[in-house]
Symmetry: C2
Subunit: 187 residues, 2 copies
């Protein structure tokens, strides 16, 4: 089915983000995205179900990665250690090009519907982490509280990651946010 196109997915993503930012997410069409990437619509639909998935396709990958890391934590690891260590490894699945992540955030920030989708993504991630903790034997209520508290840390670290001029070590940013949060809740 069709010729192999080097890095078609990456080219489609870059073209889509440019279009979303320059002309607005609602205005952009798949036809325009494919054209700008020098590819066909058919190729677009081999990689994405729709134009929204360009922005949120990475969420499942991130979630699977984190859930696996929580599962793989040593049996001796406390729930908080298991989940924050997993979050520290999220940098492994972030795009190599940090500017594309920033562009994505700007597109989302400009569109209420996409902001809602982003919130739902984080809540789904929290549920998934809670599930992973429960499979480690953590009671449901504590697992949910732990996961929700960890998502607060993740949001803080990710915002910082986008802002910093040089590409920072995500694990170090998670650690910083964990420490700041511990100070906050100590009163």
């Amino acid at each position: 089915m069709g010729r192999w196109t080097p890095n078609a997915r990456g080219r489609l993503e870059a073209a889509a983000l440019e279009l979303y930012e320059q002309h607005g997410y609602d205005q952009a069409t798949v036809t325009q995205i494919a054209e700008r990437a020098g590819l066909t619509e058919r190729t677009f639909f081999r990689h994405f179900t729709d134009k929204r998935e360009v922005l949120f396709g990475g969420a499942q990958l991130l979630q699977d990665h984190l859930v696996q890391r929580v599962a793989d934590a040593p049996a001796s690891a406390a729930p908080w250690e298991a989940v924050t260590t997993a979050l520290g490894g999220a940098g492994e699945v972030f795009p190599a090009d940090r500017e594309s992540s920033r562009q994505r955030q700007r597109v989302i920030a400009a569109h209420p519907g996409l902001q809602e989708r982003e919130l739902i993504k984080l809540a789904t991630l929290s549920e998934a982490l809670s599930g992973a903790l429960q499979r480690r034997g953590v009671p449901a209520r504590t697992a949910q509280l732990t996961a929700d508290t960890a998502i607060a840390v993740f949001k803080a670290a990710f915002t910082r990651w986008l802002e910093m001029p040089e590409r920072p070590d995500f694990a170090a940013l998670i650690q910083e946010a964990v420490e700041e949060q511990r100070t906050v809740v100590a009163g």
Copy 2:
């Protein structure tokens, strides 16, 4: 405009919750809600903009109440103390009839679109608390982390509040969740 109807809002709410639960949220119509409450559609629209607002109309009230309490906290209160004390007072604006809150949760749990709306409500509340903390001089990043961490506590306490057989003191449940969270993040 129309006769005064005793507790029209409460009757419409009760009728709507019953219908949503028995026949499904999507199926219920404003006509049916009004009929079941023994009122007119016109009266419904004096109290609610649409059938979704029956479920989420209290969110703004809760948010205003909590933001005001954060603003009113003594200048000496640390951010965490200000925000968790405010949350402890949320019980003041919860419905007197706890069964209606449980019914509301069941309706939301059965409907993905309403679950999303509930998440957005909590995220909006978090933003509002973060804003209130910033007006107390807390830097933006710390304010957001503090508010998001507090929302994790709020969710835990509210779930517990719904589950408990006797009407519990919400402030005590917030305090319990705060302590559990502190234990969690201590590792």
